[in-house]
């Protein structure tokens, strides 16, 4: 069986740990190179040793490696455009961490570069690769709960310094590098789910986003109200609001109200609970990363359509940026796509 040769560019985003592990362990994927750009280059180097992948100090060297066919880019958000455009120019297929870029102009450049080079570009929005959400989507599309009317959803994570031990996450707190705080970090997942579940785009957004909990220089929690074109109303809360003792680390949930039924997706990830000094949820399956990598690999090897395109990610970013603007000005914002 033909394997797709991957390079991982940067360990700035902690997802690199999970993606690298899945790519290295995949039946149809091989982790051949890792570059140590940005934060956590020491972790990147150690990981390269662990997986027997070639280590490069910077991504330009990795991109010159003819052995690399596809890259997963986990560098700080403000460098997404620069790195993704270069990867496209070098003919590498691209799996790019979210958000796609800091602004819509940069997002366009990334999309254009991939198109011009004829490489695949995909963004990893995890929840739609989880079983409960797939099931919900299937039921909605089959009309089992009637027309969808209202969605309340939470994409909540814990305070960033305790995301993962031993990683430098400072750049998440620097708006020039991350584009925003907790809302920018976690809301794109919720927005992607909403776009996917409704098969629609919002026409209007209002939000209240702020640095409310920890006193960080960036926002740590936000809630957005989204009115979709075909009538669905959605309320999305996203951020880093979960305290250390909260049993869920990351918490992704959805209440889906249709005219004839109500779906309660309590958690996108199946778990059990361990009780000691505190209660802790252990996710016994995280099929999302494997699903993303498999799906991307299928796309490249089978030359199929990308399930989550650069355009999808750009729409997503447009919603997020409008939410920030709505919050800043305390007005509702009309969206055009």
């Amino acid at each position: 069986m033909r394997k797709l040769n991957f390079g991982v560019i940067s360990y700035a985003h902690p997802h690199a740990l999970r993606f690298a592990s899945v790519i290295a362990g995949g039946k149809r994927t091989k982790l051949v190179a890792i570059s140590g750009d940005g934060s956590n280059s020491d972790v990147a180097r150690a990981e390269a040793r662990k997986y027997g992948a070639k280590f490069y100090r910077d991504y330009e060297a990795l991109l010159r490696d003819k052995n690399v066919e596809a890259v997963y880019i986990a560098i700080e958000t403000y460098r997404h455009k620069e790195v993704a455009v270069r990867a496209a120019e070098e003919g590498k297929h691209i799996l790019l961490e979210k958000p796609i870029a800091l602004n819509l102009r940069d997002a366009d450049e990334v999309i254009k570069a991939a198109k011009k080079a004829g490489v695949k570009l995909m963004l990893p929005f995890n929840p739609r690769f989880t079983e409960p959400l797939r099931k919900a989507k299937e039921m909605i599309d089959a009309g089992e709960i009637g027309a969808l009317e209202y969605i309340q959803t939470i994409s909540e994570n814990v305070k960033p310094p305790i995301f993962l031990q031993g990683l430098d996450m400072d750049w998440f707190l620097d708006v020039r590098k991350s584009g925003g705080g907790g809302f920018m970090d976690t809301a794109p997942h919720g927005v992607d789910s909403l776009l996917w579940l409704t098969g629609d785009v919002p026409r209007k957004v209002y939000a209240d986003i702020g640095s409310k909990i920890y006193g960080f220089p960036v926002d740590d929690i936000g809630t957005a109200v989204l009115e979709f074109r075909k009538g669905v109303l959605a309320v999305l809360t996203a951020g880093w609001g979960n305290p250390k003792g909260y049993s869920y680390g990351i918490e992704i949930k959805y209440y889906l109200v249709g005219r004839e039924g109500f779906l309660d997706v309590r958690t996108a990830y199946p778990d059990f609970t361990v009780y000691q000094d505190r209660a802790e949820k252990i996710y016994w399956d995280r099929p999302d990363v494997r699903g993303i990598v498999n799906s991307f690999t299928d796309t490249v090897l089978g030359n199929r359509e990308v399930p989550i395109t650069g355009e999808d990610a750009k729409k997503n970013l447009a919603v997020i940026l409008a939410a920030y603007e709505a919050s800043r000005r305390n007005i509702s914002i009309k969206l055009k796509f």
Partner: protein
């Protein structure tokens, strides 16, 4: 001194909650029950050992200390003002009135007559929320974000007054004031602005040109975010409970959550999964009404200081009213 109490309105909330609560309270005597429906007045009076009335003038001529008003919302102001002018203290069900303007007139009248006016914001007397508030204080949670959903399966046909916004204020007011008051009570700060969206999902709502699903995002002083979701439109059968609360509080020092699954019911699995009712009104424990009324009567007797005032009720209504304005305009409205 025994307080002589007269009740106006012997319908839903009287039968589901107040009747039993009034029976359990010492130091008061219900002497009169009035309802425009003679049969209902008679039935209520019989159960409380009181006299039945159908006319307001005759009722207000009685020697009463307190009048309790349990009628549809649109009649609150007229009845409360008449009772106050007749020299009676007033306890009125929530919402205080149909409009803020009416509520203001009620408060002014009470002030002028130097009489008490209390509004039945029963959530403030519910053990769950009282305990939650205490934990917030004791553990210094410092809430910054509170979402509260109240979902009610309204068992009334579309011709019933609840569905008529001109009589009930619609779900935004009828359930809305519970949540707006809750948020203000928990945040201990004042509302700044509101953005709201309403939907008409069920036939009953569409036929009446009103909303049955309403969400408000309320900014409170100190950058606090209140999210109120009130609905009569969830499509689940009533065997799953006719009412549910969902509370999610995120603070600087912790998070508190209360879900429908935490509601103290015994789930029964037979052919279907059922939630037996632990009270005739699933929204509230029966003892909350008793605690509320006992407190109001004690305030009237000068034994306690009010825990919730008519002004609180007025602000709760004002937020809901501004939210309706926001939903109509599609814009943020200052409170």
């Amino acid at each position: 001194m025994e307080l002589k109490v007269g009740v106006i309105g012997c319908g839903n909330i009287f039968n589901l909650a107040h009747k039993k609560a009034l029976r359990g309270i010492e130091g008061i005597k219900v002497v009169a029950c009035m309802d425009i429906d003679a049969a209902r007045a008679k039935e209520g009076a019989k159960e409380l050992g009181a006299k039945a009335f159908t006319g307001l003038d005759e009722f207000l001529d009685l020697d009463l200390d307190v009048v309790e008003i349990l009628t549809p919302t649109y009649t609150h102001a007229e009845l409360a003002i008449a009772a106050l002018k007749a020299g009676k203290h007033v306890v009125v069900e929530k919402p205080i009135a149909l409009t803020v303007e009416e509520g203001e007139r009620m408060i002014k009248t009470a002030e002028k007559k130097d009489l008490h006016l209390f509004v039945g914001h029963v959530r403030r007397f519910d053990k769950r929320w009282i305990q939650m508030k205490e934990v917030i204080k004791k553990r210094n949670i410092l809430p910054m974000h509170i979402r509260k959903a109240e979902v009610q399966n309204l068992p009334f046909p579309k011709g019933y007054w609840y569905w008529d916004e001109k009589r009930s204020g619609g779900v935004a007011v009828d359930l809305g004031v519970h949540v707006t008051d809750f948020l203000r009570w928990f945040f201990e700060s004042e509302p700044v602005s509101v953005y709201a969206v309403g939907k008409a999902i069920k036939e009953e709502a569409r036929a009446n040109g009103t909303f049955d699903h309403f969400m408000m995002m309320i900014k409170f002083e100190g950058e606090k975010t209140g999210i109120a979701e009130v609905s009569w439109a969830y499509p689940y059968p009533s065997r799953y409970g006719v009412f549910y609360h969902h509370v999610d509080i995120i603070g600087k020092n912790g998070r508190i959550r209360y879900t429908p699954l935490d509601t103290p019911v015994v789930g029964v699995a037979k052919a279907n999964f059922e939630m037996p009712r632990f009270s005739p009104l699933l929204s509230t424990f029966p003892d909350a009404f008793e605690r509320e009324l006992r407190h109001f009567f004690n305030c009237i007797r000068g034994r306690e200081e009010p825990m919730v005032t008519a002004e609180d009720a007025l602000i709760a209504l004002k937020i809901a009213e501004k939210a309706k304005e926001s939903a109509r305009k599609g814009e943020v409205v200052e409170v």
